[in-house]
Amino acid sequence: MIALRWTHDGRSALAGLVGGGLVMLSRDGDERWRRDGHGFGLSSLACHPSSTQAVTGGQDGRVRVWNLEDGAVVADLDAGAPWVEAVRWNTAGTMLAAAAGRGVRVWSRDGVLVREWPKHRATVSDLQWQPGRDLLCSTSYGGVTLLDPARDEPLRQFSWQGSSLVAQWSPSGKYIATGEQDSSVHFWIVDTGKDLQMTGYPVKIRELSWDHTSRYLATGGGNEAVVWDCGGKGPSGRTPILLPGHEQRVTAVAYQHGGSLLASGGADGRVVLWQPSAKKVLVGATQLSQAVSQLSWSPDDRELLAGCANGDVAVISRP
């Protein structure tokens, strides 16, 4: 399973499968419909924040917008390169962005191309909207690029010699955290362009999640989930909170939208709930059938959707 998301109302879930298929699941696990989403493979999926639509990107170079009521394709867009890496709605749901090859494209809600930045310094590995604002950051080998859909030229470049794999804006917009191929986490301070590099991880980092207060950043990058405290003077010089709850690699981390619970999933099939800011950090744990690949909190933060590599889906209630 490549992606698993709640719909905006938390009544159903949408799963993207490795073979390219797209499956709509009801709240109690029934399959509502199934579509051959992207023939050669689906790579990214995002549900619209306030309507029954979703967007997918695939290794066929297409970006497709779906009506989730009936599984019909509402828009079929050319991403500009044969391999779409990421598709994202902005917070308001008025714009859609996709990264493919070395380019990034932004469309309006109704599929009109708003802007294109065709030539990044290398293939774009991730793309994220700033929460609540219409500003994008893209990652690639060579660092982070800030993109403003109102401008042709990139707004800013945060350069460093390394391969940034994934990015997450802090909800406050102050930091952009990146997970790196060289087993480190970078914090870019957006205002100043200064950066902090956190090393010591055993493996590359592809799992990042901020809590809603922007104080804590949770990461994977080993058999322990790691939480950085960015309060006060920031994470520099601080020892992170280590959460040892997995016997194998941590494969997913997810903070609640509005609460302080953190969920971590591992290759060992375990899903563990934590409250890293409290003294009693371990809240609960569940064993699933296979390596966990996806974690997603329901819009009301009551339930956690977990997807396994073999396609199994579980809904875990908050204790």
């Binding site: 073979g19 290398a122 293939t123 590995s125 191929q181 087993s183 493996v203 290759a267 064993q287």
Partner: protein, 449 residues
């Protein structure tokens, strides 16, 4: 509960200069019925799903790694594509990566050592290099890419054999062998080769390479050149000019014919003869074919030395240096002979900067601490020049084989199966530039327990 980790997927890397036949071979692999499902990563975007095979395009992206290792570059595009491919692990049995003609195989190979996901879930099965037997000579001396592609290979296909003579092929094979003594060398026309010669090579397994060609770890020969001549009974003359040395060692041995294969049985006797006692030889002396090494004195060069042949036949002459360095000629009266077959045992001196191999074999048990210290130092100081290194080690106190390979400074080793009936031994090979054979041998032997 979770299942045990699935076996790593073998990966074959296909390299070769432009026009060497990579596409022909790839099409063959994709269309031939070999019972394997192969996912192919091409160096440009190809058609998807040829005969139900997975074909993915890649654009070469070199990433420098921030790990303090100056030569550590990896292919970022491959990390991304292989990562995605491994999510559909059940759809294929083998992965093949085609590189561009100008690609340096280093970053491709290093990708499998540096990225944790690649290390865990994939295994570099073999680097297969195609060589255009006709046109490679235009590039072999001045194109680093060609040298590196040959040096990195586990399997080398001398392709387009239909366009060159057997003699030219022999010459090419000697040259290629001198650069990479560890690879399996095959001759092909139209890239026609059995899949079992390319797939499942277990790039790691030096013993398999030994089984293919037991001579592959050639010792350093005490002679640089041998040629076979057809000589009548009577006296002949070896004429020499002054050269880089004031003397030259010389051995003559009778062989069965003037063909390449006739030289083989004479090589070991020649090595023994060269290790024999000194035998300073002046122009007054007579050289007789046999196991004596003659040290031709060249202080008064040009000089002529007489060889007396008792019966007509084929004779192989072994010389310490290449005859060209002394403008050496073999004469019968006024007539000059040309060799029916000749072989160079070491690259010419002008190739000292070029790619060579150093092989070491020894039966002794190794002190693992000493070996670790030595190999770390070798890789740290010479890692940029060492393209590949692989071997099997006999570690003291272990009843299992230790197998390892390295690409530049990156080292990967593990305990393998038990020695069993096999006699424990060490066999290792270094392939690279500026290798100091003597120092590597000395360093290795100092690690014996």
């Amino acid at each position: 509960m979770t299942q045990p980790a699935p076996a790593p997927v073998p990966v074959t890397v296909l390299t070769g200069f432009l026009g060497s036949g990579k596409t022909t071979l790839l099409n063959r692999i994709l269309t031939e019925n070999h019972g394997k499902r192969i996912a192919v990563i091409e160096n440009e975007f190809g058609e998807v799903g040829v005969d139900q095979e997975l074909v993915i395009g890649a654009e070469e992206e070199i990433f420098e790694m921030n790990n303090g290792c100056i030569c550590c570059t990896v292919r970022g595009d491959l990390i991304r594509i292989l990562g995605s491919l491994m999510k559909r692990r059940d759809q294929f049995d083998h992965i093949m990566i085609e590189t561009t003609g100008m690609a340096d195989p280093g970053p491709v190979a290093q990708t499998f050592f540096v990225d944790d996901e690649m290390k865990e879930r994939l295994t570099l099965d073999a680097i297969v290099t195609l060589v255009d037997a006709k046109h490679v000579w235009e590039h072999i001396d001045d194109q680093d890419e060609v040298k590196e592609q040959i040096a990195f290979a586990d399997v080398i296909l001398l392709n387009k054999t239909d366009l060159v003579s057997p003699g030219e092929l022999d010459k090419l094979e000697v040259r290629v062998r001198s650069m990479n003594a560890g690879a399996k060398i095959l001759r092909t026309a139209n890239a026609q080769v059995g899949m079992d010669a390319i797939l499942d090579q277990g790039g790691f397994d030096l013993d398999r390479a030994l089984a293919v060609d037991p001579q592959f770890l050639e010792p350093e020969f005490p002679f640089e050149w041998a040629g076979i001549y057809s000589l009548a009974a009577g006296e002949h003359v070896v004429s020499l000019h002054a050269g880089p040395d004031p003397s030259m060692q010389f051995v003559a041995l009778e062989v069965q014919s003037g063909e390449a294969h006739a030289l083989e049985p004479a090589i070991m006797p020649a090595v023994l003869a060269f290790s024999g006692a000194d035998h300073p030889t002046s122009q007054a002396d007579i050289i007789v074919p046999g196991d004596t090494r003659y040290d031709l004195q060249l202080a008064d060069a040009p000089a002529a030395f007489r060889i007396r042949v008792a019966k007509a036949g084929y004779y192989a002459l072994f010389t310490e240096h290449h005859p060209d360095e002394f403008r050496a000629r073999l004469l019968s009266g006024a007539a000059e002979h040309t060799p029916l077959y000749q072989r160079v045992f070491k690259p010419d001196h002008e190739h000292d900067e070029a790619v060579t191999s150093v092989g070491i074999t020894d039966a002794g048990a190794l002190d693992v601490k000493k070996f670790n210290a030595w190999i770390s130092e070798v890789l740290q100081t010479q890692g940029q020049d060492i393209f590949r290194m692989k071997g099997v080690l006999n570690i003291k106190g272990r009843d299992r084989r230790f197998v390892f390979q390295a690409v530049h400074m990156l080292f990967d080793g593990r305990l393998d199966r038990e020695w069993g009936a096999e006699t424990p031994h060490n066999a290792l090979i270094f392939i690279g530039r500026n290798l100091d054979r003597e120092a590597l041998n000395r360093g290795f032997r100092a690690c014996l327990a």
